[in-house]
């Protein structure tokens, strides 16, 4: 088998040590090694955003980050977004409330991209939301209800 290197990655608050091939993509590390299958592979080329997670608090496309690049770093995935297992993050609640998803395949990445927006800009305009999710493709919704979902999350988070 190919040579492996040890990596230690903190994911959703838990630290994991694994030996991986140096070429292992972060998305495959999360999906195959840690059984966190919320991040999806949609294009393997940074262009669709289905694999978006946060690395040290910033949104990244995990299909073009190597697991070794996450060594010693902190990753947040859709599974770790809510404060607890029986709560929803305002973005998750917004997507549910406003029908911001259909097949759901783009949704975890879309939510993680939207989280970056709201972290940076808690009160975005519609145009700012559309610009912020420009790196994330949804083939089902036509985006309008996603815009509404993000707006809803901004409104409720702001009110909280």
């Amino acid at each position: 088998m190919p040579d492996t290197v040890p990596v230690t990655v903190t994911v959703n608050g838990s630290t994991h040590e694994r030996d991986v091939e140096p070429r292992t993509l972060l998305v495959h590390f999360l999906r195959e090694e840690l059984d966190l299958t919320g991040a999806h592979v949609g294009c393997e080329s940074t262009l669709c955003g289905a694999c978006t997670v946060h690395l040290n608090g910033r949104a990244v496309k995990s299909c073009t980050v190597l697991a070794v690049q996450a060594d010693g770093q902190e990753v947040t995935t859709i599974e770790g977004l809510a404060a607890s297992a029986d709560e929803l993050h305002p973005l998750q609640a917004g997507f549910w409330e406003k029908h911001g998803l259909q097949c759901g395949y783009c949704t975890p990445g879309m939510i993680m991209a939207a989280k970056q927006l709201l972290d940076d800009n808690p009160n975005p305009s519609e145009a700012e939301i559309r610009e912020a999710i420009d790196g994330n493709i949804c083939r089902c919704t036509g985006y309008q209800q996603i815009v509404d979902a993000v707006q809803h999350a901004a409104d409720t988070a702001g009110a909280a």
Binding site: C48, A50, E79, W96, Q102, C103, N136, Y143
Partner: protein, 780 residues
């Protein structure tokens, strides 16, 4: 509306599906994990046409982690051909892997199985394939030319299917008409591009002798049947599961060669095998949509009245027959009249092989092409006669009193009121004001255009008896309603939703029927071991056919519950009133709740004469005919003459899809369809070069619409129910793609018409628009 008094139905209920999806806890096929899993990687042809001279798998087989490398020779004689939905006598079969010849770029020639996905891909790159290329035929019109290279050398031409439909009446009307015009329209090949590509996990278990196949598919019962037929495994030993499916849009109707192949491999290796295609594989090897050339002649009067059409559809079906591929184009002819009272239609449909990936149903499947033709025609008639496009449409509408209406193209429309949706559109969009503003803009030299589309389409295909005898799929649907002793309800539906929301809408229907909460209902779908035989989700049939089957099953269960309640209440059945989950003896306070009846039905400590214990029913709805939703769309664009860039300023859609069971989900279907349709009109195009190399094989080259391309869409709807099913619902999934392409292109052409431009082919990319503007300038 539904048989039961609507309480939940009709309301914008949040989806039952969503909690697992928004938390990343759903199980798509690639998420399935099994002990002993192996991974597949395909070796695909780099040539569009050629003979396989040699295939050397030695190095790949020796690669660490590889457990198997297979070519067609390994399975020859043990497997059937790639499954098809309708037989055409005399046409060649398509082997599961290339058998001596390759027919398109991406054609699978070998498959490598390994202990990890990375090892499988490494080894696939080591398979040496030596192909003797030969001349490919890529352009569909060139494929029809005498002497063209043939995709199948054993055939006399590249024509797979040709259906002429001449009409002497049309000839006569063309002679009598005030005017005629001709237009050639392209409906370019596009990629369905579901966010989840094809994904398969095949698991043969030697102990029970059972094959379980997880596959990202819209019709798992068909998959089970087709795998059984292809591999000779008894159907009762196959379980097909469509778990969470990340979009389909028609391209996941077929049972693919890869499905059957990996099932065979799993049985050979006695290990589970998983494969998820890459995006490039998806663009190469998932069926494409559209790919039509249309040549249309129109006979019309000076007052804008369209008398007759003569059309020729040349459909590029690619290198082999996909499931329904050769037949998709026939509905372009069937729907050619749109919502207009046209007197005669003559048509010829040709489905033609080329050395490209096969085409198949794609969101609309022949109907968007028809709407594109007739709606472009209406605008051209308006331009030639000098009439307003709204006036021309009104002049030609089928009257609302004329339904059911059979068109000369052979479609029988159930119900319609086209004036009503157009009236609402004109009002909502402020049409007259928009035209006035356009005039002012034109005086300033700005290129502002307003486009219209008033269209009808066809949903919920049926009856099954209307299909050709060679078709291997019925058009009915099934539902089982199983009431548990506590009054919980499980629905087993034969449709296979993948985003449409039937887990929610069907729960709403159950809630209304029995007075139970939405949390008391589970809707099971997409698993052939759990669900009775069914058909699947495509052609906007989920509610119109699948929902109708559920309504029938609910009626049966409700009737039995009423009889059981009557016996226990010691009253005749006709004196039992039902409301809000309670069975009450008329005029008394003697009552039983639905939950009590459910328990009595299962305990059976009191025998109810003439009844069996339990509370469950299965029903199958066979539609007597198809339904015809319709709509009126308007969009306004402005074009930058310096760059050809098009800005969509407004898009207003007034659709009529009959009764609405969940308006929020309905909006989602419409918005998603609109964006896909606009994507085709403006950006999307599968491109091959003249040698058959795919030029649009990544997201760098294939332009899928993104959020910032669009303004906020404005939606409204009118309600014209259908009598075809008990719900009165017509179908909604494909309205957007059907209305949007002509609406957008009509707006673009309207903007450019002052320059003398009368057509822009899709996709109306800025480059193409800019070139048209330059050419028009040079001509003047």
């Amino acid at each position: 509306m539904t048989t039961f008094r609507p309480n939940s139905v009709g309301r914008p209920i949040k989806r039952r599906e969503d909690p697992r999806l928004i938390r990343g806890l759903a199980t798509y096929t690639d998420d399935v994990k099994l002990p002993g899993m192996t991974w597949a990687a395909f070796v695909r042809s780099d040539f569009a046409a050629g003979a396989v001279r040699s295939l050397d798998t030695t190095a790949a087989a020796a690669h660490p982690g590889v457990v198997g490398v297979y070519t067609y020779a390994d399975m020859d004689g043990q497997v059937g051909a790639t499954p098809i939905g309708v037989e055409i006598p005399g046409m060649p079969d398509h082997p599961l892997l290339a058998n001596g010849r390759v027919l398109y770029v991406g054609h699978p020639v070998a498959v490598v199985i390994a202990e990890s996905p990375y090892a499988a891909r490494d080894a696939a790159a080591m398979v040496e394939v030596d192909i003797e290329p030969r001349e490919a035929v890529v352009d569909v019109e060139a494929a029809l030319a005498p002497g063209a290279p043939r995709v199948y050398e054993e055939l006399e031409s590249n024509v797979c299917l040709q259906i002429p439909a001449p009409n002497p009446e049309a000839d006569k009307l063309f002679e009598q008409a005030d005017q005629t015009l001709s237009i050639r329209l392209l409906n370019q090949r596009v990629a369905p591009f579901p966010m989840e590509g094809r994904a398969i996990c095949a698991h043969w278990e030697e102990g029970p002798g059972k094959l379980t196949l997880w596959t990202s598919n819209q019709a798992p019962h068909s998959v089970k049947q087709q795998i059984a037929m292809c591999l000779g495994i008894p159907e009762i030993r196959i379980r097909a599961i469509a778990p969470e499916v990340g979009g389909g849009f028609g391209a996941k109707i077929p049972t693919y060669a890869e499905d059957a192949l990996l099932c065979w491999v799993s049985r050979d290796l006695k290990r589970p095998v998983k494969w998820s295609e890459t995006r490039t594989e998806n663009l190469l090897g998932m069926t494409h949509g559209r790919g039509h050339v249309e040549k249309i002649d129109v006979a019309f009067q000076n007052d804008g009245r369209v008398l007759a059409l003569k059309g020729q559809t040349i459909a590029d079906i690619g290198a082999f027959r996909s499931f329904f591929g050769p037949f998709i184009a026939l509905s372009t002819h069937t729907m050619s009249c749109g919502c207009y009272d046209i007197k005669a239609v003559a048509w010829e449909t040709s489905s033609v092989f080329t050395n490209t990936m096969a085409t198949e149903a794609y969101r609309g499947a022949g109907r968007p092409e028809a709407a594109y033709i007739i709606e472009r025609v209406m605008d051209e008639v308006a331009a030639v006669t000098g009439l307003d496009p709204v006036a021309v449409r009104r002049r030609n509408f089928i009257s609302k009193d004329a339904f059911p209406h059979t068109t000369p193209a052979g479609a029988t429309y159930d119900t319609g009121d086209y004036e009503k949706s157009l009236d609402r559109l004109v009002e909502l969009a402020g049409y007259d004001e928009a035209r006035a503003a356009q005039s002012s803009a034109r005086e300033e030299g700005r290129l502002v255009g307003i486009g219209l589309a008033t269209f009808t389409e066809v949903c919920g295909l049926g009856p099954s008896t209307g299909a050709t005898p060679q078709q291997r799929m019925g058009t009915w649907e099934s539902a089982t309603v199983r009431v548990e002793p506590t009054g919980n309800v499980t629905v087993y539906t034969g449709v296979s939703p993948h985003g449409q929301g039937q887990e929610t809408v069907f729960a709403q229907m159950v809630s209304d029927a029995f007075g139970v909460g939405l949390d008391d209902v589970v809707v099971v779908h997409g698993d052939t071991d759990q669900v009775q035989h069914g058909v699947g989700t495509f052609g906007s049939r989920g509610i119109a056919v699948g929902g109708a089957a559920l309504d029938m099953a609910l009626v049966k269960v409700h009737a039995k519950a009423t009889r059981i309640a009557a016996h226990h209440l010691d009253a005749p059945v006709d004196q039992i009133d039902y409301g809000d989950g309670e069975f009450t003896v008329t005029g008394t306070d003697r009552k039983l709740t639905f939950r009590q009846v459910a328990e009595m039905a299962h305990l059976w400590n009191v025998n109810v004469p003439g009844e069996e214990p339990g509370l469950e029913a299965v029903a199958r709805f066979e539609p007597s005919a198809t339904t015809y939703p319709f709509g009126a769309h308007l969009c306004q664009v402005e074009i930058d003459p310096e760059s050809g860039q098009i800005e969509i300023q407004r898009y207003v859609a007034v659709d009529d899809f009959g009764e609405v069971l969940n308006p929020m989900l309905a909006d989602g279907q419409r918005l998603g369809g609109l964006v896909q349709g606009i994507g085709q009109a403006m950006w999307e195009e599968v491109q091959y070069d003249e040698g058959g190399q795919l030029l649009s094989g990544t997201l760098m080259d294939y332009a899928v619409p993104r959020a910032k391309h669009f303004p906020r869409m404005e939606l409204d709807n009118t309600v014209t129910p259908t009598p075809i099913n008990p719900l009165g619902a017509k179908g909604i999934g494909e309205l957007g793609t059907i209305g949007a392409t002509p609406c957008i292109v009509n707006a673009i052409v309207d903007a450019l018409r002052p320059l003398g431009i009368t057509n822009i082919d899709m996709p109306a990319k800025p480059e193409r628009v800019w070139q048209a503007i330059q050419a028009a300038g040079a001509a003047q």
